[in-house]
Symmetry: C2
Subunit: 347 residues, 2 copies
């Protein structure tokens, strides 16, 4: 094997499919150890599977951890990356930089302990320990192996003042608070908005509530599926009102949010279950914005749902990348005991 | 059967599923003829199947029109609505109002000739002529039967000065020009944007180009898949540059748009083929906006694609409803000979 093909910052040179697709859309990636000049190789310590992906695997195998582990190993061996074929999603990883190509623009040095902020769905990955230390029952996967970063990938050096598991969990969802803050700021320039976060007690949800407050939101509504989560969220003090509702039931969600001071100017969907599009649209005021962060979001359900309801709402695909997103999310965690407690309970 | 259940403007009262979902997400709708007080019944003349849906059926049955017709009849009989189970999409219909409930807020009268501007995916529909006049080879389906509109549905009375087929084709895609114009106007307040429309020679594409011009865009790029379409689009005079590129090849699309004066500040995706997310993102400038109108758009591919490319772009789900969208699209067609010619060629 040679690396005589020129590299592309998107990683296109590692796509093994017959048609030209980006690594994220590829069926299979080239996982060779040797690096192109703009690449970085990372010794993997831990994978953090995307929540929607892990839940799907858990459901499929009825919680049988060995079967879940076998399927993850099978996917990575077949595709050269971790991408759940059902959910299309991946996750992220933590590791230590072991080699840096001479033309890499990422600014990393050998020995840096990093988290990758691009999805596992486009990251060449080789597992070398059969995931022997993982019981298949948690999204956090101890792992020995290596991964490759491209010229346009993003990795963040882990901060010294936080446990690596905590930093990783924060970075995994750091796109949500950054984009939420940006949208809230756009509204706040004219009028402080009411913001509803569906799944407000979760990781991306609690950070999004903290970000909305930080960016100038007026009233904050946290929506959770049951009383236990409601107590958690109340204890964290992140929302002005905590609402218990099944987000898959559009009428129940609309009515619950309205009763708590809605409809929302901005609704942020942070729950990894399918079927929340209609409720999110109905919980949002005319002229408002829905931000979908859940990988379980269906594009046609959102587009046709809004049309079918004659709802004049702006709907955003939750882009996981906003410049400065990791640093901002870590700042929110450091500044908010409530957020920190929710995260630590979930580790 | 009775209508003793109260109606909901969303049509919830006609959902037959065991769980509470909106009509668009429902497996099956109640198609009874008798109306709730806020409903309207329309005698159907013609269905206009969504392009992505029709193509999928055509491919699946290798262009066998009888098989396509049989499948459409089967779907409508089983679900009480036309919703392609593969693409999730539907289409729209033209007909004449035959009954108006006393509490209907839609402002329609018996005898009005209307097009429905909400999707067939949420419209109760009964076909009464076995689609005997349709050969299964076109999206335009002559049909006798009836459909029901809810309190929150939208229907537009067909204008007198245009052929009904032409009005229908325009209204079918009228969300795209309206939302494109709105986004272009937001940019134009500070700087006139460069706009690229992928699928610029198509119906929603040509209207989106005209709308972008009308709303104050600077440079307009029309992207088409081959030379024949390029000639059509040049003839219509809607774009400053016409680019031939395969939108599924992200690198080719990026390079072609860049060479023609891109990257674009706003990229509008109007082609009904899967796999265009990466190219659209790469063809867009940092800080720019991608509007996805294609029902073939994959939510995870868009979200993870942008993250994987570290692309700071705003991605919008193309909401088919914007107030005044039908009137605006018809105006654009009347004012633009190029748009009108492209539409008439495709009827």
């Amino acid at each position: 094997m040679t690396t005589s093909v020129a590299s592309d910052p998107t990683g296109l040179h590692r796509v093994l499919d017959d048609v030209a697709v980006l690594p994220q859309a590829a069926a299979r990636l080239d996982t060779r150890r040797e690096l192109w000049p703009d690449e970085v190789r990372v010794r993997v310590e831990r994978l953090n599977l995307d929540a929607a992906s892990f839940r799907q695997l858990e459901r499929k195998h009825d919680g049988d951890g060995d079967a879940v582990r076998a399927e993850v190993l099978g996917i990575v061996a077949a595709r050269g990356k971790m991408q759940n074929p059902e959910t299309g999603s991946g996750g992220m990883l933590v590791g230590t930089v072991e080699a840096v190509g001479e033309e890499s623009p990422l600014g990393l040095r050998v020995g840096d302990r990093v988290a990758t902020l691009v999805s596992l769905t486009l990251t060449p990955l080789v597992i070398e320990d059969d995931l022997a230390r993982w019981d298949g029952r948690s999204e956090q996967v101890p792992c020995d192996g290596y991964a490759v970063l491209f010229g346009r990938s993003i990795a963040a050096v882990l901060p010294d003042d936080l446990a690596p598991e905590l930093s990783l969990a924060v970075m995994d969802v750091c796109g949500a608070p950054a984009l939420t803050a940006r949208v809230v700021r756009q509204y706040a320039a004219t009028r402080r908005p009411t913001v509803a976060v569906i799944g407000g007690a979760g990781k991306s949800g609690s950070l999004s509530l903290a970000a909305a407050r930080d960016a100038g939101a007026d009233r904050l509504l946290g929506v959770v599926p049951h009383e236990q989560e409601a107590e958690r969220l109340r204890g964290a003090g992140l929302a002005d009102a905590v609402v218990v509702a099944d987000a898959r039931d559009p009428i129940a969600l609309r009515d619950a949010v309205t009763a708590a001071g809605g409809p929302a100017d901005i609704t942020v969907v942070c729950v990894d279950v399918p079927g929340c599009e209609g409720g999110a649209i109905l919980a949002t005021a005319e002229g408002g914005t829905v931000i979908f962060f859940s990988m379980a979001t269906s594009f046609p359900a959102a587009a046709l749902g809004a049309e079918g309801l004659a709802a004049d709402v702006t709907m955003l695909v939750g882009n996981g990348y906003v410049p400065g997103h990791a640093a901002y999310a870590l700042e929110l965690l450091r500044a908010n005991d409530g957020v920190r407690r929710l995260f630590e309970e979930r580790l």
